[in-house]
Symmetry: C2
Subunit: 245 residues, 2 copies
């Protein structure tokens, strides 16, 4: 294999803890001028995460791309509660509980990460035709645990990395700095890097304040507690940040 | 690996010879009621292929999906002459000549097949959540020869098949019936299956009649000549169908 030495970074940013930590990492490694962030709206019921991703790009002074690709997810509401028009309601249970009951979380968006990474690859080849590009991909160990989201596993990332390498004539690769970290370790890294967590959002409901009870809120709260740190965003419920998780 | 037994087929149809042959094959194997065809408009300078794909779906009485995904290829005009707004002109030379001169054909659309297959996977999971689905993929040996289009190679298809299997929890796979055939062999198969080649289009220019001189016209003409058959579409130039290719 040829040696791969990226000079540009493209970060998919959903406005959450994980991808925002990635932005911090990419800026540190490549410099803000060589980083582009991208957010994709795929028809989710709220679009708060797009605003957060934009705020984070402004915080770091990096170029930001936002695109509405909801046309390609128009049938996904049949199987996923996150999509506008879906008859399913979000379930306020942890991933582990949902998997035990239903085999998969009803927040799983069909092949979302495959689609996102393919779009990122097309952007990378188009925007930097004469450079090598690292696509920063934020899947981490908790997302993959128990096959909660199969498109967050290391095996999936390897397969997509392989496809992207071949399809780009070895000019684009996936970088997965978080794949062996759990969410607490991701937050620990971000706290060291100065990630602006006050600008991020995680709650599936997308209201002004985070609900504090949905699966993703629970995971986020636990991650900050494990770091003995108060999460800087506001919650609708009282949370005892001193209490063990 | 679990045994995979698809009951539904999804065919990506660009309106050309290869994918139309695939539609014939899928209808023969699965029956028209179990086949869906999909066409994606990605910003190409002409959209004649969309009409052809729709006509072929009507010919077979299969459900057809058409989607405009040009938003995700908006930067592709920088590197690809097929995209609206591109400053590059199409080159009327064979792929082999273009590769010898420039390293790649300027008709290469960045990561197009990765994107198309990811969208097909998302459709397959959403539309048939309780069935196994075969995505019919029309890459053939001539596309891959000399790495003309790296995203048409067998290695690329293997990588995407792997990603799609993992991301769909083993419910969706890529089927590649043409991957070891050259274009003459594809046309030979289609002629046996009764593929309605009179409804197809291949020419990069997308005018009423095919130009007969662009790379894809040359390849198509040669494939029909090799089968000692007159191509049923009209050409702007006179072609001696008796002459050896």
């Amino acid at each position: 294999m040829n040696e791969f030495k990226a000079t540009k970074a493209l970060v998919l940013n959903s406005g959450g803890c994980d991808s925002s930590t990635l932005v911090s990492l990419a800026v540190k490694e490549f410099g803000a001028d060589n980083v582009i962030t991208a957010s994709l709206y795929y028809g989710q019921k709220h679009d708060k995460e797009l605003k957060c991703a934009k705020d984070i790009a402004e915080f770091y002074g990096v170029k930001h791309i936002e695109e509405d690709i909801s046309c390609v997810m128009k049938y996904a509401g049949e199987v996923c509660s996150l999509i506008k028009g879906s008859k399913d309601e979000l379930i306020d249970k942890s991933y582990a509980e949902q998997i035990a009951e239903n085999g998969s979380p009803n927040s799983e968006v069909p092949f979302r990460n495959g689609l996102f990474l393919s779009i990122a690859a097309a952007y990378a080849i188009s925007l930097f035709p004469h450079e090598e590009v690292a696509i920063f991909y934020g899947a981490h160990a908790d997302d993959a645990a128990g096959n909660a989201y199969p498109d967050c596993t290391s095996e999936f990332a390897d397969a997509m990395d392989n496809a992207i390498m071949i399809g780009s004539r070895n000019k684009v690769r996936l970088i997965r700095p978080l794949i062996n970290k759990n969410k607490s370790q991701v937050v620990s890294l971000g706290l060291k890097l100065g990630t602006p967590y006050h600008l991020t959002t995680s709650c599936y409901h997308g209201r002004d304040k985070a609900c504090g009870v949905c699966g993703t809120c629970r995971d986020r709260i636990a991650a900050f507690k494990a770091n003995h740190t108060r999460d800087p965003i506001d919650y609708e419920i009282d949370i005892d940040w001193e209490e063990d998780k």
